[in-house]
């Protein structure tokens, strides 16, 4: 049972009040019709499953009904930060890998999908909006 800080309610709430909604920062390509089938498939179906730092989308379903992001360590289940939609994480795997590296934390892609995604798909998906 997680204890999650809702950045809108500005307090910790019980996990029962929240729904997890998968990986955060999956941006819908701006021009879907211009995507190849492969690119569109990557956007729809491929997600990271890192051992370590993971950015997740949650919703405070029984509460303020706002969506927000959670940076969570999938090994320890520690929640390192929560932040509003439109904001960027301050704790990332890269940032941890660069400086004070945490034991056993695998460097993930900072929230962008990489597993199975082609370079073109990543390029088309990245950088649209946070």
């Amino acid at each position: 049972m997680f204890h999650i800080y809702c950045p809108y309610c500005e307090e910790l709430r019980e996990e029962e009040e929240f729904h997890p909604k998968g990986e955060a920062h999956i941006v819908r390509p701006k021009d879907p019709e211009a995507c190849t089938d492969e690119e569109w498939g990557d956007y729809l179906f491929f997600r990271d499953n890192p051992r370590g730092i993971h950015h997740e989308l949650w919703v405070h379903a029984v509460g303020c009904r706002k969506f927000f992001n959670v940076t969570r360590n999938t090994v320890t289940y520690e929640i390192l930060e929560t932040y509003k939609i439109g904001e960027r994480p301050t704790v990332t795997a890269e940032h941890l890998a660069g400086g004070d590296k945490q034991g056993n934390v695998q460097v993930a892609s900072g929230g962008q999908q990489t597993v199975g995604a082609s370079g073109a798909a990543v390029a088309s998906v990245k950088g649209e909006r946070a």
């Binding site: 049972m1 569109w40 729809l44």
Partner: protein, 1016 residues
């Protein structure tokens, strides 16, 4: 006179029991007497009961070994009646009450004469791990037969077969600091935190708080240690910021300091909760604690030594001997041999001597022990055999001797000639294992501490351990550690620390302990008398040795091969010994072998406490509409739709006989087709959408077009996920230029609202639009059938003329004097009006409709009739005819897809993927069974060729199937591969009973294909 006869092992004085209160109880049908303050275990020992159970696998006689949660043998079945049965209670944790009835959980036909005993004796050597499976597997078909008898003689306890008369509940707790364990470290920690003003919960699993202070030989402030505990507890009890929970076990440590505490509230009072003010309080309670910080002061479990026949009744832990003598005034035998690796265990011999009984010898594995208590024992004339250990216990149903010899523990060899000592009790101590279970639940791996010869907990952020729980066994040091760790926790909470003055404890010189686990025997382990490691699961040293020989090298594999530390035991006594033996066999060190993972629950938790009040009528929420009472009073049968209770059908009594569902549905269907019916449609999800960008938003989330929908009009829409698969459907009405009312399926309501919010909040925050659920605000009544207009006209001021109020229009006005919005939409294919009123007035409107409806044959109908009618029209149910893998095109609903809408709406791109363009996708079609009396089974698989060899290629399945009273036949909707191109073809449905049905693929609309009836 008779008293002492009845309790031969009860001391004349001493202990914390109330000798003025006698309690009688029965065990295995025999009546005994004990005292208030006894546990069942102490009372059994007082009465000289040696055998309390038969072992799990070998059916060996077993006695009480321990005095607390770690007891492996004395698992008993409680309860004088069927309803009161409770399995697998540890006799050491069950307070005695008057009239208690207990039985052994094992032993068939009884614990004294056990039929399976011969297997253990005769087959003993030949019952390695996996014995039952290896022996009884062939022929495989007979296992079921064997198993029945094996289970009868082995296994643990049984569940009650009658309804539990007690209730259970949960209490949600929050605190700054949760202290688990009220021994010396826990009390010192709780007091420190309490005086700082923090919200503190102190939980302890025993009947009485105080832990080791309650049976300590040591003095605190020059008084018996228990008095200090009483003083501290009195102060804590008087503080508002402190919650004391005795008889409360911390069972599970979950994420982010969420800890479940199981409080046994009335189990010490009787087998069912006694009445208090005419009410039975809950029997036990689960405290769901969210703590800021947690301090584990869970103490340590003494490790028994592993020697031959160490499971015979009369083998006890040294510490348990002291506990029974000092706390309960019970001395569990007459002639004691103590086998030890350390000083602390000497207290058992000293206590035994103080109790006036004989200590035959102390067998100390160390060459020259010289601690303070060793010297005391010497001074009192106890024989101390140095550098030696008990190799083997002798006896049949109780210890009657101990074979003792000098050993070389390091070389694992017996070095001297064995001598047999005459005794009836062997106490052993191999040291102390910190109770690290809860810390392990957090996922932190414990680390081996060579100094204390035990694993100490690793701690995640916010968890602290103090005292014995982290290997600080000395009393004064443990108390100081409690204060220090509480201060550490308070600092983490940013709270000022108020130091407490520690009591005076006399220092005691203690000699170093030696590492000792399995005692060597003259014979090799595999041939020596059984040396038990895990008594509860009947795991022996030989079993572990065999496991390592068979190639199981990982301790986790050894555990699973042997069952060591399984189930309710969770390795409390045996794990370290088992690891040490595995390490010896594998030629590794204990830290190299590592430990297994301890999992919740620490001790068994009754299902009642887990369930709490969420049972019976309160098992799950039942959602009711505003018309529920009418439905109940008019005999509705109900169907669960999500959490809603919806009328399924309304059986009537015809000629004194209640209609079957089939009859009722046929009558209801015909009433709608021929006259007029009414449905409570209030459960449909309703979302109020406002904002200048509402229309644009709808255009993006629905597949069809919304920009031109006029105020006063209604449109049906399909909603897809971005993979192009149908998610939900419903109608949306334009209430104002910037104002819409969306309806969703009953089951989809919450999901659709969250879906809209997801897209608005994460993708399109620039759109000015809001969504508010009004599902509960509006009650919805569908009046439908050829007579609907005439009926409604009688009670409304709305102009119902077909030119003024067209199909797919909505109007507002009064219905039965209540302001209403009326929508002309149809899910039956007939003329239909959906009346929405504020729910508080719904019953009045509904009843008024019935007052006027008689002459038109107004008939209430339920969801079953609704399904038949909509299916006859080919109207889909999202989630029934679709399953997340079906596109609008698969459903043949291209007419509801706006391919040329400028914005790439949700799902559009996916519809042009190669996979969604396949022509052999499963597509929705109608099925007409060749035999009109057949109603196909929903979910039945479809094949093209019934003569194909099994396995036949399955090409689809039936999604909806009913009998149509209008058509006079069965009919169905189904998905079939390439179905849209297969009209007129015959498909087959092979059934489980061997029959095969044939059906023709037809269009999905079975009734009124042109839609003339709804548009009148």
């Amino acid at each position: 006179m008779s008293k002492s006869l009845k309790q031969p092992n009860r001391l004349k004085e001493g202990g914390r029991i109330d000798r003025s209160r006698k309690l009688s109880f029965t065990f295995n049908g025999q009546r005994y007497q004990g005292h208030a303050g006894d546990t069942l275990a102490s009372a059994l020992l007082a009465n000289g009961v040696d055998i309390v159970n038969r072992s799990f696998k070998y059916s060996r006689p077993r006695g009480i070994v321990a005095a607390g949660a770690e007891e492996p043998n004395a698992l008993i079945q409680l309860g004088s009646t069927e309803a009161a049965q409770v399995p697998n209670v540890r006799a050491t944790q069950q307070a005695l009450f008057d009239g208690l009835v207990a039985r052994s959980t094992n032993g068939w036909p009884n614990v004294q004469h056990d039929l399976m005993g011969w297997v253990g004796k005769v087959g003993g050597r030949f019952m390695p791990p996996g014995f039952y499976y290896k022996t009884f597997m062939a022929p495989a078909s007979m296992w079921m037969t064997y198993e029945k008898y094996i289970r009868k003689s082995a296994g643990l306890g049984r569940s009650p077969m009658e309804r539990d008369p007690d209730s259970y509940d949960h209490l949600n707790q929050h605190c700054d600091l949760l202290v688990i364990g009220a021994g010396p470290a826990g009390l010192a920690a709780a007091l420190t935190a309490a005086r700082s003003g923090a919200r503190v919960i102190l939980a302890d699993e025993q009947e009485e708080m105080g832990g080791s202070l309650l049976d300590s030989r040591e003095l605190v402030d020059n008084q018996p240690a228990a008095q200090w505990a009483e003083r501290v507890l009195k102060e804590l009890a008087g503080l508002d910021n402190v919650t004391l929970l005795a008889r409360t076990t911390a069972n599970g440590y979950h994420d982010h300091h969420f800890v479940t505490l199981h409080e046994r509230r009335t189990e010490h009072l009787g087998e069912t909760a006694p009445l208090v003010n005419g009410h039975r309080p809950s029997r036990s309670r689960m405290h769901r604690v969210r703590a800021g910080q947690v301090l584990l002061a869970t103490g340590a479990h003494e490790r028994p030594l592993v020697y031959g026949n160490n499971d015979l009744p009369g083998n006890l832990l040294a510490g348990a001997v002291s506990t029974y003598i000092r706390r309960y005034g019970v001395v569990p035998g007459h002639k004691l041999v103590l086998s030890t690796s350390n000083d602390y265990a000497y207290r058992a011999a000293l206590d035994w001597l103080d109790a006036g009984r004989e200590v035959v010898a102390i067998v100390d594995a160390r060459p020259a022990p010289n601690g303070e208590w060793v010297e005391q024992a010497r001074a009192r004339g106890i024989r101390i055999i140095e550098g030696a250990a008990v190799l083997e216990a002798k006896g049949a149903s109780r210890v009657n001797g101990a074979r003792v010899a000098t050993i070389d523990a390091g070389a694992f060899k017996v070095t001297g000639q064995a001598e047999t000592l005459d005794c009836d009790t062997i106490a052993s101590s191999g040291g102390y294992s910190p109770v690290i279970h809860l810390a392990s639940h957090t996922g932190a791996r414990p680390t081996w501490n060579e100094e204390i010869l035990g694993f100490v907990p690793s701690l995640v952020k916010g968890v602290h351990a103090a005292g014995s729980a982290r290997g600080i066994h000395d009393l004064a040091a443990g108390m100081a550690d409690g204060v220090a760790m509480a201060a550490q926790a308070l600092e983490a909470l940013n709270r000022p620390v108020q130091a407490i003055e520690l009591p005076q404890v006399e220092a005691r010189r203690e000699g170093a302990a030696c590492a000792l686990y399995q005692i060597p025997h003259e014979k090799p382990t595999l041939r020596a008398p059984k040396q038990f490691v895990d008594l509860q699961n009947d795991v022996t040293a030989a079993g572990i040795e065999l496991a390592t020989r068979e190639g199981f090298e990982s301790i986790e594999h050894v555990k699973r091969y042997t069952a060591m530390g399984f189930g309710t035991d969770q390795g409390k006594l045996g794990n370290i010994n088992g690891m040490a033996i595995a390490a010896r066999c594998l030629n590794r060190s204990i830290p190299e072998v590592g430990t297994t993972v301890f999992r919740p629950n620490y001790t068994p938790v009754t299902f009642g406490a887990i369930v709490g009040r969420h049972c019976r009528e309160l098992f799950d929420p039942e959602r009711y509409t505003a018309l529920h009472q009418w439905h109940v009073e008019n005999g509705a049968e109900f169907e669960d739709v999500g959490q809603w209770k919806r009328p399924w059908y309304f059986p009537q009594t015809v000629n004194g006989k209640k209609e079957s569902m089939h009859e009722a549905v046929a009558r209801e269907c015909l009433a709608v087709r021929e006259k007029v019916g009414i449905l409570d449609a209030s459960t449909l999800g309703k979302i109020d959408i406002q904002g200048p960008d509402a229309r644009e938003f709808l255009n993006r989330v629905y597949t069809n077009k919304w920009l031109k929908l006029e105020v006063g009009r209604v449109r049906y829409g399909l909603m897809c996920k971005d993979d192009g698969m149908l998610m939900d459907d419903g109608t949306t009405s334009c209430l104002g230029e910037n104002h819409f009312l969306m309806t969703t399926t009953t089951g989809g309501a919450a999901g659709v609202l969250e879906w809209l919010e997801l897209w608005h909040q994460t993708e399109w925050p620039e759109l000015d639009v809001t969504f508010t659920s009004v599902t509960d605000h509006w009650a919805t009544m569908t009046v439908t059938g050829p007579e609907a207009r005439k009926l409604l006209a009688e009670i409304t001021d709305i102009d119902l003329d077909r030119s003024a109020f067209k199909f797919m229009d909505w109007r507002e006005g009064n219905v039965a004097g209540v302001p209403a919005r009326v929508f002309r939409i149809s899910f039956t294919g007939e003329l239909a009006y959906e009346i929405n009123v504020q729910a508080n007035y719904a019953m009045h409107v509904w009843k008024t409709l019935f007052e006027h409806g008689d002459k038109y044959g107004l008939t209430p109908y339920g969801t079953e009739t609704m399904h038949v009618l909509r299916a006859e029209k080919g109207f889909i149910i999202a989630g029934q005819d679709s399953d997340g893998s079906v596109t609008p095109e698969d459903l043949g609903m291209q007419w509801a897809v706006g391919y040329d809408k400028p914005y790439s709406w949700i799902g559009k791109r996916a519809l042009s993927r190669s996979d969604t363009r396949r022509t052999d996708r499963k597509q929705l079609v109608g099925l007409k069974p060749k035999d009109p009396t057949v109603v196909l089974e929903e979910g039945a698989q479809i094949v093209f060729d019934p003569d194909h060899a099994i396995p036949m290629p399955m090409v689809g399945h039936v999604t909806s199937s009913y009998y149509s009273p209008t058509l006079g036949s069965g009919f169905a909707l189904a998905v079939v591969k390439g179905g849209h191109q297969r009209m007129g073809e015959t498909v087959y449905l092979p059934m489980a009973d061997g029959k095969t049905h044939a059906a023709e693929i037809v269009g999905t609309i079975f009734y009124d294909p042109k839609g003339e009836r709804q548009n009148v």
